[in-house]
Symmetry: C2
Subunit: 370 residues, 2 copies
Amino acid sequence: MADGLNMSRRIRRTPYTDRVETAGVKGFSVVNHMLLPKAYSRSVEEDYWHLREHVQVWDVSCQRQVQIQGEDASELVQLMTPRNLTDMSVGECLYVPLTDVRAGLINDPVLLKLSEDKYWLSIADSDVLLWAEGLALGKGLNVQLSEPDVSPLAIQGPKADELLVSIFGESIYEIGFFKFAWVSFKGTRQLIARSGYSRQGGFEIYLEGGHLGGDLWDMIWEAGQEYNISPGCPNLIERIEGGLLSYGNEMTRANNPLELGLGKYCSLDGTVEYIGREALENIAKKGPDRKIYGVLFDAPSCPTCSKPWQVKNEGMVVGQITSGIYSPRLKKNVGVGLIDKGYWTVGLEVSVTLPDGQIRGGQLSNLPFA
Amino acid sequence: MADGLNMSRRIRRTPYTDRVETAGVKGFSVVNHMLLPKAYSRSVEEDYWHLREHVQVWDVSCQRQVQIQGEDASELVQLMTPRNLTDMSVGECLYVPLTDVRAGLINDPVLLKLSEDKYWLSIADSDVLLWAEGLALGKGLNVQLSEPDVSPLAIQGPKADELLVSIFGESIYEIGFFKFAWVSFKGTRQLIARSGYSRQGGFEIYLEGGHLGGDLWDMIWEAGQEYNISPGCPNLIERIEGGLLSYGNEMTRANNPLELGLGKYCSLDGTVEYIGREALENIAKKGPDRKIYGVLFDAPSCPTCSKPWQVKNEGMVVGQITSGIYSPRLKKNVGVGLIDKGYWTVGLEVSVTLPDGQIRGGQLSNLPFA
């Protein structure tokens, strides 16, 4: 599962990497040219149970911010996403699929509205800054674009509220889901959002000022001892069970938001203008050819899904799985992927072909898994 | 030096990854969301000597192509680079720095002109496709942009000519440096260029059709036995000694082509229009504040440069090293990085501060190292 990763300056360290190494990191991934810790000493399963019961601190600095500021900031942001942003308020976070002219997905960031003319796109793994800069320059928009020195630290798990209240006080309770507020830290004002890449609740602190990274980690870590805190990372079991999709895994430029169940984030009535509108409306008119489903399939062991695995029904290929892993809670493997039209029946009997040729029986499932 | 790399579909495998694994790969890097083999069983030093004497096969599929085709293709390509492309011929490869409006480097690809209205940009590690698409869409240019199914395989080292002649015939000798031709392979026509990320000579086959990857690797591998072929990868000792820069290491958005010694690739007389022209002309007028140099400094052991190392002269910080390693040929460490104006003297005595606080004596050197 883990081969060697050769380091260089190009694979950027984060403000927390020193601490992550001290905490015993065993493996990384690379997202936005930056290290994302992906494994500590515990197994993915042990980590899964811990995340569901306690609280963890995650270095998700790789969720880089694309800062869009200026007179035409709102116009550019709306141009980039099918989601209707007309009523977005300062202090809100919105999940916004970004589409190209063919309605293919360029990224699926969280958009934060900092002021009427200032936004952050907190991005998955593609250089959205280059896309935004190309558009702005080409169209002659009046915006300033940058990657600010902002590195999110996630605090995830059911004890995240208690832990952060112990540090920042009761006002933490007042932060609504996908809303953000500001807290004081070492004489600076830092953004904290009730959000994160798990279904266990928690927050993300968008630390501005990388030199403060060690101090922030230490403060969370020390206060967290009382709550059985652990270093962690997005957990593959938890995210698949929870139906959280991953850019580059479930979604690529070859996928559109409608087949991925993101229709609720797409304006399809012509209210707003955005890149890919015509293509997306056409897909909506005839309906998508594929849809995202869960697949519950037989254990034991599930290898790493590095290439899509075929899903078959009665010998016919009817789709593919793009992420999969053993769920210790469901005592089966859980996978997620696109299923062709005509086979959209929860409970449909399917088979999954693993890379070594093994065939495992399974059924289609809703997402999130029950 | 190598920590674990956790795999997923997002970290894309290449048409050669199966073969690379069979050949005993020990470590990867990630470039353009794709695996780049970086270590096999031999040490970097053993690999260095082998590369200088024999021939190696490198999976450099991560050098993705940005295909630019259509009526306005030449206009878009020229817009993206300071290099004057007016006289570029079909069959040529040109090294083209890409700049933003502030003349910061977006990438440093090799441009291949396939026909009067079709180009490939063979890119380093940033999503140039998004940049090009944003520009084209914003400006309303008539071009089709894509990432084609093209995965370069490099054959590098002094025996590369002989090896490829044994496969494709004497016409290989006729391919000039940074020129390309076409060869037949399994009923397909494949592009082969005399180029590559080493100073030891060789070729890159831009394989079109990923399903042919295993066959191409096997053919090279089998014919290569006679020439003592080995699986390899860009060699850090060889590239630093040779003065080959690396995007993300020596150059980022914070650097301009002039300080990196790339002035010879920049039109500064207003002949052609491109993004960043005004900024670059201003830098040229007052002269750059920093310039790229080699630094030869005392052994033993040189750690991995994950963060720039300070270079000092008489206690004053005068620059930084961004890549460094021990050279078994020069019996010293070799580094490369930017040195501030006022200190541009080859032979200048400097010190290098390593991450553990150790200070090593050294001298500024020309690039490539002698």
